[in-house]
């Protein structure tokens, strides 16, 4: 095999300019894929992190049917203390769950005594919430980074519109489950950065205040947000949790609760999917580049070396070895391209990191793009290129191995 590799390498060196050209083409494709994957991966993880760790949480548990009508804030689908207790026990039994936070969601009207506007509120337990969505505190632009009883965190848009500042009194009016309207005065404890998308009008009050405002007889919960220790294992934890939650049945024998990951709850998931789709397309383009260029160059090689192939066959080289020579040659060319491409990709990715390229997401600016290439991506892309190079060489190699020595020797 070493001899075959040596001969293949020498043949590549024989056509230096062509080898460099095809290698450069493959390297360019590898750079495009690696840099795109690294940059889009960084963009995605920053935005996903922002969504999950500053707003939604990584997963949410609701009573069955809640998410379908989540925009209506259906209080009749809140979870009662017994059910919440069951879920808490399940969550505590899964070591990969780092934190969870019980929430009450409600819609209401906020008044600064001269103007009113509607808003959506989360009643939260600050201690649990800040562990479950650890970036929430960083979203508090003004005021205390804590949330005490009687305080409200007002979203930035509304604060600006109503000309509300920290310490100002406001009244929140909300309709409870039986339809009666209740009001309660709060002090603005902080201004929270408006979340991008539909969450832009979300404010926060203490969960006990929310229960009081809604005149709850017992502490109900609209949703439980969950944070896992390792985000990369979210799918596994999701499956584990779903399995356990599904054991809890309602009177109709159907699962009592439903569990969703952030992807089912945030419209950004579609953008994330688009990014993944683009990654697939760019990989397909790489495959096409490699396949076409390798096949082309190998067909050319077989054509140019027909007489030489005839000589090797006449000497007694078995067709299988001639096949192997050309396959290895194509594979080596792919390897050369992938090595050059990977090295240049590392340089390009680090150049982007050093340049501190920033972008904005929603109202928040200054996200620093921090692309990084994972060993897994490098291995996968390298393997794809090498395998495709070998596949691209198969047909020309087969043709070479099937050449009749007598005809090949007569070739000029």
């Amino acid at each position: 095999m070493l001899e075959i590799i040596k001969i293949a390498a020498r043949n590549l060196m024989r056509y230096k300019r062509r080898t460099l050209l095809v290698g450069a083409l493959i390297a360019l494709g590898v750079i495009a894929v690696q840099v795109f994957m690294a940059a889009s991966g960084s963009y995605k993880s920053l935005i996903v992190g922002q969504i999950t760790d500053a707003m939604l949480g990584q997963m949410q548990i609701h009573k069955k049917g809640y998410v379908v009508s989540i925009e209506n804030v259906p209080m009749n689908l809140n979870m009662m203390p017994h059910g919440v207790g069951i879920i808490e026990d399940i969550l505590k039994g899964i070591p990969e769950v780092e934190a969870y936070s019980t929430r009450i969601r409600l819609g209401g009207v906020i008044s600064n005594f001269t103007e009113t506007t509607n808003l959506r509120l989360y009643g939260i337990d600050p201690e649990k919430e800040f562990k479950t969505v650890p970036l929430l505190q960083k979203r508090i632009m003004e005021g205390s980074s804590e949330l005490r009883r009687g305080q409200i965190l007002v979203p930035q848009f509304l604060a600006k519109g109503l000309n509300i500042t920290v310490g100002a009194p406001v009244v929140i009016i909300a309709t409870n489950k039986d339809g009666s309207v209740n009001g309660q005065q709060f002090i603005v404890g902080g201004i929270v950065e408006s979340a991008p998308g539909p969450g832009g009008r979300d404010g926060y009050i203490h969960i006990t205040d929310a229960a009081e405002l809604l005149r709850m007889e017992e502490p109900e919960v609209s949703e439980i947000a969950v944070h896992v220790k390792d985000f990369n294992r979210l799918d596994q934890v999701f499956e584990q949790l779903t399995e356990r939650l599904n054991k809890e049945k309602n009177t109709k024998g159907m699962p009592k609760f439903e569990l969703h990951t952030w992807e089912k709850l945030s419209p950004f998931a579609n953008i994330a999917k688009m990014i993944d789709l683009m990654t697939v397309f760019i990989r397909i383009m790489l495959i096409a580049i490699v396949l076409i260029s390798i096949m082309d160059v190998m067909i050319m090689s077989v054509y140019e070396r027909t007489r030489e192939i005839g000589t090797l066959a006449a000497i007694g080289t078995l067709p299988g070895r001639i096949l192997a020579m050309f396959i290895v040659e194509g594979g080596l060319l792919g390897l050369f391209g992938v090595l050059a491409g990977t090295i240049l990709s590392v340089v390009a990715v680090n150049a982007i990191r050093v340049s501190h390229y920033t972008f904005s997401f929603g109202m928040k600016e200054g996200f620093v793009l921090s692309p990084h290439m994972t060993p897994k991506d490098v291995v996968v892309v390298s393997l794809v290129v090498i395998v495709v190079s070998i596949l691209g060489s198969l047909h020309p190699a087969y043709k070479a191995s099937r050449l009749e020595p007598i005809k090949a020797l007569k070739s000029v």
Binding site: N11, A314, G316
Partner: protein
């Protein structure tokens, strides 16, 4: 012992609607350990006959046994195995592999055809390179040596596996007198020491003079056979 036996061997090529008869009912036999020469004008069928004996091509009719094997019965892979195991080729245009050095060209059949161990390979290659006086050029590539030197390398490559049969198509056509005689004496030495059979197609009187048996071909027909010291017209 007969190493090549041809019985009514014919070979025709079809070019579109035209059929070209390259060999017609050729019958002969060649004994092992001899030097045999096929002579005749260009296009007479010498090279075609050599290609058939070398299992590079198959007869259209008749029977041809080489080294006891019927060449018609060999498929592509077995033909290659047979050539690698029994036959050495010396081409008129040398046909050296340009990416391999002189040493590697001679070594090639031992590596890629015979799987000979490295130590044995080195010994065999160096012996032959010395025999053809090319040991001092062993690291050079074919484009760095002269035509005569290339032919010597090609001969070393053909002989390195100690084949039973060596086929040479105009082996001295591109060589000067001195080199041609050196190569001829090497071949005779191989014949004497290893009982290697040499078959040439040639116009070269030097080679014809060294051959123990000379066949004349004209228009694809064997028209004469001459053994050293005797003449016999077919």
């Amino acid at each position: 012992m007969t190493i090549v036996k041809a019985e009514n061997v014919g070979k025709f090529y079809e070019t579109g609607t035209v059929t070209v008869q390259a060999l017609k009912d050729v019958s002969f036999s060649i004994e092992a350990g001899t030097i045999t020469s096929f002579i005749g004008p260009s296009g007479s069928g010498k090279t075609t006959l050599l290609n058939l004996i070398g299992c590079l091509d198959k007869p259209s009719s008749g029977r041809l046994d080489v080294g006891g094997s019927n060449v018609l019965a060999l498929d592509r892979t077995n033909s290659a195995k047979f050539r690698g195991g029994n036959i050495g080729f010396i081409f008129q245009d040398f046909n050296l592999v340009p990416i391999l050095t002189v040493y590697e060209n001679v070594e090639y059949p031992l590596v890629m055809v015979r799987d000979t161990p490295a130590a044995e390979r080195r010994k065999l290659v160096l012996n032959l390179l010395e025999a053809v006086e090319m040991a001092d050029q062993s690291e050079k590539y074919p484009d760095q040596i002269s035509g005569g030197q290339k032919q010597r390398v090609a001969i070393a490559r053909a002989l390195v596996t100690s084949p039973k049969l060596v086929l040479a198509d105009e082996p001295t056509a591109n060589l000067d007198h001195k080199t041609a005689y050196m190569i001829l004496s090497l071949m005779k030495k191989m014949r004497d020491e290893l009982s290697t059979t040499f078959i040439f197609s040639t116009h070269d009187p030097k080679i014809v003079g060294e051959a123990e048996c000379i066949y004349t071909i004209e228009d694809g027909i064997l028209t004469g056979q001459q053994e050293k010291g005797a003449a016999n017209h077919a």
